[in-house]
């Protein structure tokens, strides 16, 4: 897990959820981000697939509860 990966993922969250850096945290839960709804979730997943060149499966993304879960998934894919 590189700092670069963290920064790229954080940027995806800030832009998609339209939040400031102070409102973001890798271990904040989905319910703590008021703009993280199902549409935003799909936008985040799609951006991750485009930026990191990975393909995320339904059973992988359905259990995602916080940004760090996605960080683990990206790392697992070797990116």
């Amino acid at each position: 897990m590189t700092e670069n990966t963290e920064e790229k993922l954080k940027k995806i969250f800030l832009e998609t959820l339209q939040i400031g850096e102070g409102d973001f945290g890798f271990d904040k839960s989905k319910s703590e981000f008021s703009s993280w709804d199902s549409l935003a979730h799909m936008q985040i997943i799609s951006e991750i697939e485009s930026v990191f060149g990975v393909s995320l499966q339904m059973d992988e993304v359905v259990d995602v509860q916080k940004p760090s879960d996605l960080l683990c998934l990206i790392e697992k894919k070797g990116k």
């Binding site: 549409l39 799909m42 936008q43 799609s46 951006e47 339904m58 359905v62």
Partner: protein
């Protein structure tokens, strides 16, 4: 079956009791679909190629995309399985009436959905009534 329920009061309750029925509803903001590009990963993750072609032929694609997204969410809320958005297809009959087509044909046999969709200036709304015979 619905005609039978209407014509024989009392029987409908028995019919409903013998079925598994669930309901799903969703509201989508049309504006959030205004910048979606036809060839984007996001569009392909949510919509089937047939839906993308159909929506982008419309004068205001965002309205159609939002309505379909709301319909897919409404359907997902009635299902027991986790199904990807792009495996639930909303197609319109010649009359314009929307119908649900699951890409996984087993789900077409398992579920019998009824869907209703509407939209106004800013929002699209869909309600799904799902019957599992």
């Amino acid at each position: 079956m619905l005609l039978l329920w209407g014509s024989q009061p009392g029987l409908w309750q028995k019919e409903i009791n013998s079925m598994d029925i669930s309901i799903g509803i969703d509201l989508a903001e049309i504006g959030r679909f205004s910048k979606i590009e036809k060839e984007s990963r996001f569009a392909k993750n949510i919509f089937t190629s047939r839906e993308i072609e159909s929506c982008f032929k419309k004068k205001n694609p965002a309205e159609s995309l939002a309505a379909r997204f709301a319909a897919k969410e409404a359907v997902k809320k009635t299902l027991k399985e986790n199904v990807r958005f792009n495996e639930i297809e909303i197609i319109n009959e010649k009359t314009g009436k929307p119908e649900i087509n699951f890409i996984d044909k087993k789900l077409n046999k398992k579920y019998k959905p009824l869907i209703s969709i509407t939209h106004a200036d800013k929002y699209a709304l869909a309600v799904c009534l799902m019957f599992k015979p």
